[in-house]
Symmetry: C2
């Protein structure tokens, strides 16, 4: 890269040329003058104005006036309706394969149980030794209860660790620490060639980079909606099961919403046809409002434009870091290759933990990840180039 123009005017030019800049107005303004930059949308995306409005409408009209009737009129089918739209807009998934429900942890438990049961006779689950804690904990729990072995592998090498005993491989599509992208299609192909199934965790990719689950022939996937989809704190997660598994797959949390006839009060559990059998309890209607609005906004913006801006923002962070922060002892921990980097850039610094606290106190809202990572989250629908520059300037001042 030639010496980049890092001036305030350069940032302004980038913002002026940004096709997605206007989307920022669709969000609730940050009513805190102390916030210099919000660079943690990869932990918690900002609220849409439409979400606030729809919540009021829901409470007043759907819940408050239509009352119980809204279940039949609108709510019962929301898990698939929103799931279908999410699949279309962000997952490369045809309708009927995605539901919105529960939390990522619960969805992952269900997906792992479902996948393992489809590979009887195989006794191993393979995962990344540095996978996100929930993923590792659940792999261990499922393995322990079913008498399987966990095979821990390095993230670059997980597919290679797959063998004839492998029932399931489970991986994060984008690494929560470094934003490194795993080649979803290639890994899926390789695991399938060895007779296993793959459960993808899309928490750090959904809404940030295009995902092509159907094209890759992926088996199961889960992810959260409160990061790049801006659905709100603890908003429901999603679960995808490829249609080719629908005739056979099951999961153990067999609540009434996953039954073929929810209100039939049947004597025996008969799973609903298709993806609906992945449901358990009553759908979280308030929480789904933010998911629907987040997905609708993404549909309007288009995942490809979002991805293009995420790449440009990532380059901008790296250029600023190289010029200003590397001389102060920072290193860039994320891939420099755009094609291999997801929606955040992680900077490492020996004093990252203390520095993160100082930054947050000064209104630069980044995210600290142990032991020494500062994550700069880039949410293309809300993050601006000047905003990023202001943040990097403060990091330089405060770390200098």
């Amino acid at each position: 890269m030639t010496a980049a123009d890092l001036s305030p005017e350069a940032a302004e030019r980038l913002d002026a040329a940004d096709e997605l800049a206007a989307f920022r107005e669709r969000f609730v303004p940050i009513a805190d003058p102390g916030v210099v930059a919000y660079l943690d949308g990869n932990s918690l995306g900002r609220p849409l104005r439409a979400t606030a409005e729809r919540l009021q409408e829901l409470v007043t009209h759907e819940w408050g006036a239509r009352l119980i009737r809204s279940w039949d009129e609108r709510w019962l089918t929301l898990p698939e309706e929103i799931g279908d739209e999410l699949g279309r807009v962000a997952l490369g998934a045809a309708a009927g394969q995605t539901i919105v429900a529960d939390s990522t942890s619960v969805c992952l438990y269900k997906a792992l149980r479902a996948a393992v049961a489809l590979r009887p006779g195989r006794d191993e689950i393979v995962t990344d030794a540095a996978n996100f804690p929930t993923d590792r904990f659940l792999v261990e729990s499922v393995a322990a209860e079913l008498g399987l072995t966990v095979r821990w592998a390095e993230s670059d090498d997980v597919a290679a660790a797959t063998g004839p005993r492998t029932a399931v491989v489970t991986l994060s599509h984008v690494d929560y620490r470094t934003a490194a992208i795993t080649d979803l299609a290639a890994v899926t192909r390789l695991v399938h060639a060895r007779g296993g199934l793959v459960v993808w965790d899309l928490c750090h990719s959904v809404g940030s980079i295009p995902v092509e689950l159907d094209a890759a022939g992926a088996d199961f996937a889960v992810g959260c909606t409160y990061k790049f989809l801006n659905a709100g704190p603890g908003a429901p997660a999603f679960l995808y099961a490829n249609a080719r598994h629908h005739a056979e797959f099951g999961q153990p949390i067999t609540g009434w919403m996953g039954a073929a006839d929810t209100f039939g009060m049947a004597a025996e559990y008969v799973p609903a046809p298709g993806i609906r059998r992945a449901l358990s309890g009553t759908p979280p209607v308030l929480g789904m409002v933010g998911v629907r609005e987040g997905v609708a906004l993404l549909a309007e913006a288009g995942i490809d434009r979002v991805r293009a801006k995420a790449v440009a923002l990532g380059r901008w962070v790296i250029a600023l870091a190289d010029a200003w922060l590397v001389p102060l002892g920072f290193t860039v921990a994320s891939p420099r290759d755009d094609a291999r980097r997801g929606g955040h850039v992680t900077l490492r610094h020996p004093d990252a933990e203390r520095l993160s606290r100082v930054l947050i106190d000064h209104g630069v809202l980044i995210d600290f990840r142990r032991p020494d990572g500062i994550r700069i989250g880039l949410s293309p629908l809300t993050t601006g180039f000047a905003e990023v520059r202001r943040a990097m300037e403060r990091i330089r001042e405060l770390a200098g």
Copy 2:
């Protein structure tokens, strides 16, 4: 009972004497002039004005302005904080034993798994053959995956069916069809005497009748918050685990929120001390708003006054039914003994399904339960005596 005064004036006198009447103003008005009476609060309680207001404040301030900082400032501890308050106000549970999380189905799955694991060597789960579908389905699923036998019993006889092989008995405190109350303390005592544990489903009792979990020495309990607690459609459920089980109990959905150090990114799952280990994924913050407000309102009203009014409303329904509907072929399916009847009255009628549709079309919002039950739900914080009378009048007209 002597011939009751069923006149409109009698209804007015009952409403005028009602200590809880003013609480109705705390709810969002029903902005649908077609609604004659809302008698399905035992399926979906009405929204509080405070919930609508707090949702806006949450979106604008906590989520929109404090952003990610709200997790540390407020949100992470909500599952226990609201759980503690719910325990104090409605469950007879000392602090530290109740969390708000997931759905009832997921909580019940966790509670059943936890309870069964505490009774190794016993291979039977006992439940009511007519229990709510989710409960029956989950009992079957847990039994199947762990190689246990399900022993189905009649509801009056479940405790008697408990024997030396019984690991766990699971029952609904209030029957969803008839509102019959099971003696929680007596059943718990009997099952304990035979060496088993009890998992209570409080869906149809919480917020309607006082529950005394600690006094009864109950082991585990779960329930929903969207009925008598008015927390909203699909609002999070709760799970209670008695403190004497905290050192030992576990559950298989070992997500990061149940770990001792959620953000430690530890290599191994170490369960949090106490009830927090029952958590899995990121807490549903928006959904918890309604739970907090519903519990706060109940604290203000007092569960004993709520119960007293529920009893009075139930008597009123039965008196009206006896006078007006029994001659038309209805029967009262709920216990006539106040002490044995929960927060709704079920009327049976051979043509109940069609009649329910007609009633709902005419703004009398009741609930049909197969095969022939019409549930008249009584929510003491919103239901009035004149409202009930209007509804019963319409039922008489429409069924006549």
